[in-house]
Symmetry: C2
Subunit: 218 residues, 2 copies
Amino acid sequence: MIDECASTVLESAILLCDIGNTSLHFFDGKHTCRMSVEHFDTTVPQAKVYYINVNPELEAKLQERSNWINIKPYVETAKYYESMGIDRMMVCEAVDHGIIIDAGSAITVDIMDHKTYCGGFIYPGVSAMQQSYANISSRLNDSFNFELDLDKMPKNTKDSISYGFLRPLYTEVMRHNKPVIITGGDAARLHRLFKSARVDELLVFKGMKQMIPRIASC
Amino acid sequence: MIDECASTVLESAILLCDIGNTSLHFFDGKHTCRMSVEHFDTTVPQAKVYYINVNPELEAKLQERSNWINIKPYVETAKYYESMGIDRMMVCEAVDHGIIIDAGSAITVDIMDHKTYCGGFIYPGVSAMQQSYANISSRLNDSFNFELDLDKMPKNTKDSISYGFLRPLYTEVMRHNKPVIITGGDAARLHRLFKSARVDELLVFKGMKQMIPRIASC
Protein backbone atom coordinates (compact mmCIF):
# COMPACT_ATOMS: atom_id res chain seq x y z
CA MET A 1 0.00 0.00 0.00
CA ILE A 2 3.00 2.28 0.63
CA ASP A 3 3.51 4.90 -2.11
CA GLU A 4 0.18 4.12 -3.70
CA CYS A 5 -1.31 7.37 -2.52
CA ALA A 6 -4.19 8.39 -4.76
CA SER A 7 -3.55 11.87 -6.14
CA THR A 8 -7.17 12.75 -5.30
CA VAL A 9 -6.41 12.27 -1.62
CA LEU A 10 -3.36 14.54 -1.65
CA GLU A 11 -5.34 17.19 -3.57
CA SER A 12 -8.02 17.54 -0.91
CA ALA A 13 -8.60 20.91 0.73
CA ILE A 14 -7.97 19.53 4.22
CA LEU A 15 -5.91 16.48 5.09
CA LEU A 16 -5.20 14.53 8.24
CA CYS A 17 -1.87 12.76 8.47
CA ASP A 18 -0.58 10.20 10.99
CA ILE A 19 3.20 9.96 10.63
CA GLY A 20 5.09 6.97 11.95
CA ASN A 21 8.76 6.11 11.74
CA THR A 22 8.50 4.67 8.24
CA SER A 23 5.24 5.88 6.66
CA LEU A 24 2.76 8.72 6.39
CA HIS A 25 -0.91 7.78 6.55
CA PHE A 26 -3.27 10.34 5.00
CA PHE A 27 -7.04 10.73 5.32
CA ASP A 28 -9.11 13.20 3.31
CA GLY A 29 -12.38 12.55 5.13
CA LYS A 30 -13.32 9.72 2.81
CA HIS A 31 -10.23 7.79 1.73
CA THR A 32 -6.92 6.89 3.28
CA CYS A 33 -3.55 6.37 1.60
CA ARG A 34 -0.01 5.66 2.69
CA MET A 35 3.37 6.92 1.55
CA SER A 36 6.82 5.95 2.74
CA VAL A 37 8.70 8.62 4.70
CA GLU A 38 11.73 7.95 2.54
CA HIS A 39 10.11 9.02 -0.73
CA PHE A 40 7.84 11.74 0.58
CA ASP A 41 8.13 15.33 -0.65
CA THR A 42 6.68 17.68 1.99
CA THR A 43 5.96 20.33 -0.64
CA VAL A 44 3.45 18.16 -2.54
CA PRO A 45 0.27 18.69 -0.50
CA GLN A 46 -0.99 22.24 -1.02
CA ALA A 47 -3.83 21.73 1.45
CA LYS A 48 -3.80 22.32 5.19
CA VAL A 49 -2.45 19.14 6.72
CA TYR A 50 -3.25 18.50 10.37
CA TYR A 51 -0.76 15.92 11.53
CA ILE A 52 0.67 13.90 14.38
CA ASN A 53 4.24 12.70 14.10
CA VAL A 54 6.71 10.44 15.91
CA ASN A 55 9.52 10.91 13.37
CA PRO A 56 11.95 13.62 14.62
CA GLU A 57 13.85 13.88 11.32
CA LEU A 58 10.73 14.60 9.29
CA GLU A 59 9.50 17.03 11.97
CA ALA A 60 12.25 19.55 11.14
CA LYS A 61 11.12 19.64 7.50
CA LEU A 62 7.44 19.96 8.41
CA GLN A 63 8.14 22.91 10.71
CA GLU A 64 9.28 24.83 7.62
CA ARG A 65 5.94 24.32 5.85
CA SER A 66 3.22 26.73 6.99
CA ASN A 67 0.38 24.47 5.73
CA TRP A 68 1.47 21.59 7.99
CA ILE A 69 -0.09 21.97 11.46
CA ASN A 70 1.11 19.75 14.27
CA ILE A 71 -1.85 18.77 16.46
CA LYS A 72 0.18 17.84 19.54
CA PRO A 73 0.51 21.31 21.12
CA TYR A 74 -3.31 21.51 21.20
CA VAL A 75 -3.78 18.22 23.04
CA GLU A 76 -4.62 18.36 26.73
CA THR A 77 -1.72 16.04 27.52
CA ALA A 78 -2.35 16.30 31.28
CA LYS A 79 -5.26 13.88 30.68
CA TYR A 80 -2.67 11.26 29.71
CA TYR A 81 0.99 10.98 30.72
CA GLU A 82 4.12 12.77 29.62
CA SER A 83 5.86 10.09 27.54
CA MET A 84 2.69 8.56 26.02
CA GLY A 85 2.72 8.35 22.22
CA ILE A 86 0.60 11.00 20.48
CA ASP A 87 -1.06 8.27 18.36
CA ARG A 88 -2.28 6.58 21.56
CA MET A 89 -3.67 9.90 22.80
CA MET A 90 -5.54 10.39 19.53
CA VAL A 91 -7.25 6.98 19.55
CA CYS A 92 -8.29 7.69 23.14
CA GLU A 93 -9.71 11.08 22.10
CA ALA A 94 -11.98 9.20 19.69
CA VAL A 95 -13.51 6.95 22.36
CA ASP A 96 -15.58 8.10 25.35
CA HIS A 97 -15.92 4.74 27.04
CA GLY A 98 -14.21 1.47 26.24
CA ILE A 99 -10.96 -0.42 25.96
CA ILE A 100 -8.98 0.40 22.84
CA ILE A 101 -6.57 -2.03 21.20
CA ASP A 102 -4.24 -0.43 18.66
CA ALA A 103 -2.49 -3.36 17.00
CA GLY A 104 0.61 -2.14 15.21
CA SER A 105 4.32 -2.84 15.73
CA ALA A 106 3.34 -2.65 19.41
CA ILE A 107 -0.14 -3.47 20.65
CA THR A 108 -1.24 -0.63 22.91
CA VAL A 109 -4.25 -1.17 25.15
CA ASP A 110 -5.87 1.88 26.72
CA ILE A 111 -8.91 2.34 28.90
CA MET A 112 -11.34 5.25 28.69
CA ASP A 113 -14.05 5.48 31.33
CA HIS A 114 -16.71 8.07 30.56
CA LYS A 115 -14.17 10.41 28.87
CA THR A 116 -11.52 9.87 31.57
CA TYR A 117 -8.24 8.17 30.67
CA CYS A 118 -7.61 5.33 33.16
CA GLY A 119 -4.17 4.17 31.94
CA GLY A 120 -3.04 1.46 29.61
CA PHE A 121 -0.33 -0.99 28.72
CA ILE A 122 1.94 -1.99 25.86
CA TYR A 123 2.16 -5.54 24.49
CA PRO A 124 4.50 -6.56 21.66
CA GLY A 125 2.89 -6.61 18.20
CA VAL A 126 2.44 -9.69 16.01
CA SER A 127 5.82 -9.62 14.29
CA ALA A 128 7.76 -8.52 17.40
CA MET A 129 6.27 -11.42 19.31
CA GLN A 130 6.90 -13.90 16.49
CA GLN A 131 10.54 -12.76 16.36
CA SER A 132 10.75 -13.10 20.12
CA TYR A 133 9.76 -16.79 20.00
CA ALA A 134 12.10 -17.41 17.04
CA ASN A 135 15.01 -15.91 19.00
CA ILE A 136 14.39 -18.26 21.94
CA SER A 137 14.55 -21.42 19.82
CA SER A 138 14.31 -22.44 16.17
CA ARG A 139 11.59 -24.89 17.30
CA LEU A 140 9.43 -21.86 18.17
CA ASN A 141 10.03 -20.13 14.83
CA ASP A 142 6.50 -20.39 13.47
CA SER A 143 3.65 -18.09 12.48
CA PHE A 144 0.65 -17.68 14.78
CA ASN A 145 -2.64 -19.49 14.36
CA PHE A 146 -5.32 -16.80 14.60
CA GLU A 147 -8.05 -19.43 14.14
CA LEU A 148 -7.10 -20.90 17.52
CA ASP A 149 -9.85 -22.00 19.91
CA LEU A 150 -8.95 -19.90 22.96
CA ASP A 151 -11.02 -22.15 25.23
CA LYS A 152 -8.84 -25.18 24.64
CA MET A 153 -5.41 -25.62 26.22
CA PRO A 154 -2.94 -26.32 23.37
CA LYS A 155 -1.20 -29.64 22.83
CA ASN A 156 1.15 -28.76 19.98
CA THR A 157 3.94 -26.22 19.56
CA LYS A 158 2.28 -23.91 17.02
CA ASP A 159 -0.83 -23.55 19.16
CA SER A 160 1.28 -23.25 22.34
CA ILE A 161 2.95 -20.08 21.06
CA SER A 162 -0.26 -18.79 19.45
CA TYR A 163 -2.15 -19.26 22.71
CA GLY A 164 0.82 -17.81 24.64
CA PHE A 165 0.71 -14.67 22.53
CA LEU A 166 -3.06 -14.27 22.19
CA ARG A 167 -4.85 -15.74 25.20
CA PRO A 168 -3.12 -13.75 27.98
CA LEU A 169 -3.85 -10.55 26.04
CA TYR A 170 -7.47 -11.64 25.47
CA THR A 171 -8.02 -12.64 29.11
CA GLU A 172 -6.58 -9.36 30.39
CA VAL A 173 -8.58 -7.18 27.95
CA MET A 174 -11.88 -8.96 28.67
CA ARG A 175 -11.31 -8.73 32.45
CA HIS A 176 -12.05 -4.99 32.29
CA ASN A 177 -15.59 -5.66 31.08
CA LYS A 178 -15.79 -2.68 28.74
CA PRO A 179 -16.70 -2.33 25.05
CA VAL A 180 -13.65 -3.33 22.99
CA ILE A 181 -12.58 -1.25 19.99
CA ILE A 182 -9.74 -2.49 17.75
CA THR A 183 -7.71 -0.41 15.33
CA GLY A 184 -4.29 -0.58 13.66
CA GLY A 185 -2.73 -2.72 10.95
CA ASP A 186 -3.47 -6.04 12.64
CA ALA A 187 -7.03 -5.16 13.69
CA ALA A 188 -8.62 -7.68 11.33
CA ARG A 189 -6.44 -10.54 12.62
CA LEU A 190 -7.19 -9.77 16.26
CA HIS A 191 -10.89 -9.40 15.47
CA ARG A 192 -11.00 -13.15 14.78
CA LEU A 193 -10.42 -13.65 18.51
CA PHE A 194 -12.13 -10.58 19.96
CA LYS A 195 -15.35 -11.49 18.17
CA SER A 196 -17.56 -9.01 20.07
CA ALA A 197 -15.16 -6.10 19.44
CA ARG A 198 -15.81 -3.25 17.05
CA VAL A 199 -13.10 -2.68 14.43
CA ASP A 200 -12.47 0.95 13.48
CA GLU A 201 -9.56 1.53 11.13
CA LEU A 202 -10.11 5.30 11.23
CA LEU A 203 -9.93 5.72 15.00
CA VAL A 204 -6.74 7.78 15.03
CA PHE A 205 -8.17 10.14 12.37
CA LYS A 206 -11.45 10.47 14.29
CA GLY A 207 -9.47 11.57 17.34
CA MET A 208 -7.44 14.01 15.24
CA LYS A 209 -10.56 15.43 13.59
CA GLN A 210 -12.02 16.27 17.00
CA MET A 211 -8.99 18.46 17.63
CA ILE A 212 -9.51 20.73 14.60
CA PRO A 213 -12.17 23.06 16.12
CA ARG A 214 -9.83 23.57 19.09
CA ILE A 215 -6.96 24.54 16.77
CA ALA A 216 -9.15 26.84 14.65
CA SER A 217 -10.27 28.74 17.76
CA CYS A 218 -6.69 29.44 18.95
CA MET B 1 27.11 -20.02 38.74
CA ILE B 2 28.27 -21.68 35.50
CA ASP B 3 31.45 -23.75 35.89
CA GLU B 4 31.34 -23.45 39.66
CA CYS B 5 30.31 -27.06 40.05
CA ALA B 6 31.32 -28.35 43.48
CA SER B 7 33.52 -31.43 43.05
CA THR B 8 31.48 -33.12 45.80
CA VAL B 9 28.41 -32.96 43.54
CA LEU B 10 30.16 -34.54 40.55
CA GLU B 11 31.59 -37.28 42.83
CA SER B 12 28.18 -38.50 44.00
CA ALA B 13 27.14 -42.08 43.34
CA ILE B 14 24.03 -41.04 41.43
CA LEU B 15 23.50 -37.78 39.61
CA LEU B 16 20.60 -36.14 37.83
CA CYS B 17 21.40 -33.77 35.00
CA ASP B 18 19.17 -31.34 33.08
CA ILE B 19 21.00 -30.29 29.90
CA GLY B 20 20.00 -27.16 28.04
CA ASN B 21 21.52 -25.54 24.98
CA THR B 22 24.25 -23.78 26.93
CA SER B 23 24.56 -25.41 30.36
CA LEU B 24 24.35 -28.66 32.33
CA HIS B 25 22.52 -28.49 35.64
CA PHE B 26 23.43 -31.26 38.08
CA PHE B 27 21.67 -32.45 41.24
CA ASP B 28 23.12 -35.02 43.66
CA GLY B 29 20.04 -35.29 45.85
CA LYS B 30 21.14 -32.43 48.07
CA HIS B 31 22.96 -29.80 46.06
CA THR B 32 22.77 -28.43 42.54
CA CYS B 33 25.52 -27.03 40.36
CA ARG B 34 25.88 -25.76 36.82
CA MET B 35 28.55 -26.16 34.14
CA SER B 36 28.70 -24.67 30.68
CA VAL B 37 28.26 -27.13 27.79
CA GLU B 38 31.29 -25.59 26.13
CA HIS B 39 33.76 -26.56 28.88
CA PHE B 40 32.20 -29.82 29.96
CA ASP B 41 34.13 -33.09 29.79
CA THR B 42 31.67 -36.00 29.61
CA THR B 43 34.25 -38.40 31.07
CA VAL B 44 34.46 -36.55 34.42
CA PRO B 45 31.45 -37.96 36.28
CA GLN B 46 32.10 -41.60 37.18
CA ALA B 47 28.64 -41.99 38.68
CA LYS B 48 25.46 -43.03 36.95
CA VAL B 49 24.01 -39.85 35.47
CA TYR B 50 20.30 -39.86 34.65
CA TYR B 51 19.77 -36.99 32.27
CA ILE B 52 17.42 -35.10 30.01
CA ASN B 53 18.89 -33.17 27.10
CA VAL B 54 17.82 -30.72 24.41
CA ASN B 55 21.33 -30.27 22.97
CA PRO B 56 21.76 -32.56 19.90
CA GLU B 57 25.53 -32.01 19.62
CA LEU B 58 26.21 -33.11 23.18
CA GLU B 59 23.80 -36.04 22.80
CA ALA B 60 26.17 -37.83 20.39
CA LYS B 61 28.97 -37.70 22.98
CA LEU B 62 26.72 -38.86 25.82
CA GLN B 63 25.55 -41.88 23.82
CA GLU B 64 29.17 -43.13 23.92
CA ARG B 65 29.25 -43.07 27.74
CA SER B 66 27.59 -46.11 29.35
CA ASN B 67 27.11 -44.34 32.71
CA TRP B 68 24.96 -41.59 31.12
CA ILE B 69 21.32 -42.72 30.93
CA ASN B 70 18.86 -40.68 28.91
CA ILE B 71 15.51 -40.60 30.70
CA LYS B 72 13.42 -39.68 27.66
CA PRO B 73 12.83 -43.20 26.25
CA TYR B 74 11.23 -44.17 29.57
CA VAL B 75 8.74 -41.30 29.61
CA GLU B 76 5.12 -42.05 28.72
CA THR B 77 5.15 -39.32 26.08
CA ALA B 78 1.60 -40.14 24.95
CA LYS B 79 0.46 -38.31 28.12
CA TYR B 80 1.88 -35.14 26.58
CA TYR B 81 2.44 -34.25 22.93
CA GLU B 82 5.07 -35.23 20.40
CA SER B 83 7.10 -32.02 20.11
CA MET B 84 6.83 -31.00 23.78
CA GLY B 85 10.18 -30.30 25.46
CA ILE B 86 11.39 -33.09 27.77
CA ASP B 87 12.05 -30.50 30.52
CA ARG B 88 8.37 -29.50 30.42
CA MET B 89 7.34 -33.15 30.68
CA MET B 90 9.58 -33.60 33.73
CA VAL B 91 8.18 -30.64 35.68
CA CYS B 92 4.71 -31.99 34.92
CA GLU B 93 5.73 -35.43 36.22
CA ALA B 94 6.57 -33.76 39.53
CA VAL B 95 3.10 -32.22 40.00
CA ASP B 96 -0.18 -34.11 40.38
CA HIS B 97 -2.49 -31.12 40.36
CA GLY B 98 -1.72 -27.50 39.61
CA ILE B 99 -0.51 -24.98 37.08
CA ILE B 100 3.25 -25.00 36.60
CA ILE B 101 5.22 -21.95 35.47
CA ASP B 102 8.76 -22.73 34.32
CA ALA B 103 10.38 -19.32 33.88
CA GLY B 104 13.49 -19.67 31.75
CA SER B 105 14.41 -18.31 28.31
CA ALA B 106 10.79 -19.15 27.53
CA ILE B 107 8.08 -19.20 30.19
CA THR B 108 6.18 -22.45 29.81
CA VAL B 109 2.84 -22.80 31.57
CA ASP B 110 1.37 -26.30 31.94
CA ILE B 111 -1.73 -27.61 33.62
CA MET B 112 -1.98 -30.89 35.50
CA ASP B 113 -5.38 -31.99 36.72
CA HIS B 114 -5.28 -34.97 39.10
CA LYS B 115 -2.28 -36.50 37.29
CA THR B 116 -3.69 -35.79 33.82
CA TYR B 117 -1.89 -33.36 31.51
CA CYS B 118 -4.39 -30.78 30.21
CA GLY B 119 -2.12 -28.82 27.86
CA GLY B 120 -0.10 -25.68 28.19
CA PHE B 121 1.31 -22.65 26.49
CA ILE B 122 4.60 -20.86 25.85
CA TYR B 123 5.20 -17.21 26.70
CA PRO B 124 8.49 -15.40 26.00
CA GLY B 125 10.88 -15.24 28.97
CA VAL B 126 12.03 -12.06 30.72
CA SER B 127 14.97 -11.24 28.47
CA ALA B 128 13.23 -12.31 25.23
CA MET B 129 10.33 -10.02 26.08
CA GLN B 130 12.60 -7.15 27.07
CA GLN B 131 14.44 -7.51 23.75
CA SER B 132 11.12 -7.60 21.95
CA TYR B 133 10.08 -4.19 23.34
CA ALA B 134 13.56 -2.76 22.64
CA ASN B 135 13.31 -3.89 18.99
CA ILE B 136 9.98 -2.09 18.54
CA SER B 137 11.30 1.28 19.73
CA SER B 138 14.24 2.69 21.68
CA ARG B 139 11.63 4.38 23.91
CA LEU B 140 10.56 0.89 25.06
CA ASN B 141 14.13 -0.24 25.78
CA ASP B 142 13.83 -0.54 29.57
CA SER B 143 14.00 -3.21 32.26
CA PHE B 144 10.79 -4.50 33.85
CA ASN B 145 9.44 -3.33 37.19
CA PHE B 146 8.65 -6.52 39.14
CA GLU B 147 7.41 -4.44 42.09
CA LEU B 148 4.52 -3.23 39.94
CA ASP B 149 1.04 -3.01 41.46
CA LEU B 150 -0.89 -5.25 39.06
CA ASP B 151 -4.21 -3.78 40.19
CA LYS B 152 -3.39 -0.32 38.89
CA MET B 153 -3.46 0.61 35.20
CA PRO B 154 -0.05 2.14 34.33
CA LYS B 155 0.49 5.77 33.43
CA ASN B 156 4.17 5.73 32.50
CA THR B 157 6.20 3.88 29.88
CA LYS B 158 8.24 1.60 32.19
CA ASP B 159 5.12 0.37 33.96
CA SER B 160 3.22 0.11 30.65
CA ILE B 161 5.68 -2.49 29.34
CA SER B 162 6.05 -4.17 32.74
CA TYR B 163 2.27 -4.50 33.04
CA GLY B 164 2.07 -5.56 29.38
CA PHE B 165 4.52 -8.37 30.01
CA LEU B 166 3.35 -9.48 33.46
CA ARG B 167 -0.35 -8.78 33.92
CA PRO B 168 -1.72 -10.71 30.88
CA LEU B 169 0.35 -13.72 32.01
CA TYR B 170 -0.86 -13.32 35.60
CA THR B 171 -4.51 -12.91 34.61
CA GLU B 172 -4.41 -15.97 32.36
CA VAL B 173 -2.64 -18.18 34.94
CA MET B 174 -4.99 -17.20 37.78
CA ARG B 175 -8.07 -17.78 35.59
CA HIS B 176 -7.50 -21.54 35.84
CA ASN B 177 -8.01 -21.43 39.61
CA LYS B 178 -5.41 -24.08 40.44
CA PRO B 179 -2.45 -24.15 42.83
CA VAL B 180 0.45 -22.32 41.14
CA ILE B 181 3.98 -23.76 41.26
CA ILE B 182 6.89 -21.71 39.88
CA THR B 183 10.28 -23.02 38.86
CA GLY B 184 13.17 -21.97 36.60
CA GLY B 185 15.79 -19.24 36.68
CA ASP B 186 13.31 -16.37 37.00
CA ALA B 187 11.08 -18.07 39.59
CA ALA B 188 12.02 -15.63 42.36
CA ARG B 189 11.23 -12.58 40.23
CA LEU B 190 7.83 -13.93 39.18
CA HIS B 191 7.07 -14.93 42.78
CA ARG B 192 6.89 -11.22 43.65
CA LEU B 193 3.72 -11.08 41.55
CA PHE B 194 2.34 -14.59 42.05
CA LYS B 195 2.42 -14.14 45.83
CA SER B 196 0.33 -17.21 46.64
CA ALA B 197 2.44 -19.48 44.42
CA ARG B 198 4.87 -22.10 45.68
CA VAL B 199 8.43 -21.79 44.35
CA ASP B 200 10.24 -25.07 43.74
CA GLU B 201 13.66 -24.75 42.12
CA LEU B 202 14.08 -28.54 42.08
CA LEU B 203 10.88 -29.38 40.22
CA VAL B 204 12.58 -30.77 37.10
CA PHE B 205 14.81 -32.99 39.24
CA LYS B 206 11.83 -34.20 41.27
CA GLY B 207 10.16 -35.27 38.04
CA MET B 208 13.33 -36.96 36.83
CA LYS B 209 13.81 -38.76 40.15
CA GLN B 210 10.36 -40.29 39.85
CA MET B 211 11.46 -41.89 36.60
CA ILE B 212 14.41 -43.84 38.09
CA PRO B 213 12.44 -46.81 39.50
CA ARG B 214 10.84 -47.18 36.05
CA ILE B 215 14.28 -47.29 34.40
CA ALA B 216 15.71 -49.70 36.98
CA SER B 217 12.87 -52.16 36.37
CA CYS B 218 13.42 -52.25 32.59
